[in-house]
Amino acid sequence: MSYITKSPWLVHYDGSSCNGCDIEVLACLTPLYDVERFGIVNTGNPKHADIFLVTGGVNTQNYPVVKQIYEQIPDPKVVIAVGTCACSGGVFHDCYNMLGGMDKAIPVDVYVPGCAARPESIIDGVVKGLAVLEEKQKAMAIPVREKQALREKELEPGVAVNKSQEAGK
């Protein structure tokens, strides 16, 4: 059984946004939605987090910040982009300093659209993220050598054939 789906801790970062989605994320913590009943904890610390919840788009100024937070989260991790801004840049996408959605800076696993995204859909997005998280953890558990073999078999069959031919020589 995977415990990671029962205790996802998230770190929340608000990029280039109107703060609407930011407020909705915080609304998830209130007694009305109470995400802690699923074991979700909003830690302020990327080193403790499993889920990176980003609202707002990425601009030239917060690009390195987002990257750094992402790199500080230990594996396995998923990124959830909440709100139209985080998905594509939203209303800000034409601004001179905007790079676009969060996927311009870091790999995003789940997109939650909406302006502002409702708490229900944010929770839904996190639940979708949990499935990805579990998948990633399973992938982590496979030793590197087996992973290589699997990769050769499924993704690059040509390499495997070449290798076996070389071994035959």
């Binding site: 415990y3 007694p31 009943r37 302020g44 080193k47 230990p74 396995p76």
Partner: protein, 291 residues
């Protein structure tokens, strides 16, 4: 000889049961806190899920020293509890517990992160605040029962609490610090995000963080053991009183945790010392007079 076997068995029972009890206590704590804030709260077994999850995460440590000292923290926390429940010397228990907290402080100092550094400093201030009272607890039991031996203390002819109410009050006060509850959750807590991220825990992640959780569970059970010493005496049924009082102490700490905001460290230090001086010393003076 059979006495010794008995002691070792009870020590081993502690080693096995303490994490279970400590984890459940932490779960109950989170549940009660959530109910007080009108939330549903996580399941009671949540701390175990957290623990196993952290254990499976990618191990990231700032440097080797950090990992070493956190292992030391866990080891000494377990060891001090083992000494206590194997009916060892109270002084030995307290000093071993101090070594554990020293390990924790050095682990926090191991990284250059300012949050971690400030957390370590605050942890030191906390140690300064509670350490005198811990020693007075041992001294009080010695003056009253004539021994530091935990087994002899729980066999005393009358309830120890009757002779040592001041020391018990002092212990309750510093238990708030030791359990890392508001108003004394200065160095680390799950709610420190705003000012210090997670304080001393900021740079600790994955399996090492799991070790710290485990050490805290062991430590909490040990500290409740000290409460137990006050309320158990010779008759067979008294453990019920002792355990009930442990539960009550823990519950009231949760209530205080939810009612208070964080104090400044100066206030923590001075108030803890005032309580130690007034309640603790008055009680010790009384015990000396009684002898």
């Amino acid at each position: 000889m059979s006495d010794m076997v008995c002691n070792i068995v009870s020590g081993i029972v502690y080693l096995i049961l303490a994490p279970v009890i400590g984890g459940l206590l932490a779960g109950i704590d989170r549940k009660i806190s959530a109910r007080m804030q009108r939330r549903v709260g996580p399941p009671i077994t949540q701390p175990f899920y957290d623990f196993f999850k952290l254990w499976d995460k990618q191990p990231v440590a700032v440097n080797k020293a950090q990992r070493f000292y956190i292992r030391g923290f866990l080891l000494f926390a377990i060891l001090s509890g083992f000494f206590f429940f194997a009916h060892g010397d109270l002084l030995l228990v307290i000093f071993t517990l101090t070594i554990a907290s020293v390990c924790f402080v050095i682990a926090a100092y191991a990284s250059n992160s300012p949050y971690s550094q400030v957390g370590a400093e605050r942890e030191l201030a906390q140690t300064m605040a509670y350490e005198p009272m811990m020693l007075l607890v041992a001294l009080g039991f010695y003056l009253h029962c004539g021994t530091f031996d935990a087994k002899a203390i729980v066999q005393s002819p009358a309830m120890n609490f009757i002779y040592m109410p001041g020391i018990f009050i002092g212990l309750c006060y510093i238990l708030l610090i030791k359990f890392r509850k508001s108003p004394f959750d200065l160095s680390m807590s799950h709610e420190v995000h705003q000012e210090l991220i997670q304080g001393a825990l900021t740079e600790i992640s994955g399996p090492t963080l799991a070790m710290i959780e485990l050490a805290h569970w062991y430590e909490n059970v040990l500290l409740l053991g000290f409460v137990y010493l006050f309320f158990a005496w010779a008759p067979i049924w008294t453990p019920v009183v002792g355990i009930a009082m442990c539960a009550l102490t823990y519950f009231s700490d949760i209530v205080v945790d939810n009612c208070c905001s964080r104090m400044k460290w100066e206030h923590m230090l001075s108030s803890a010392w005032v309580v130690t001086l007034v309640a603790g010393f008055a009680n010790v003076a009384f015990l000396m007079y009684m002898r």
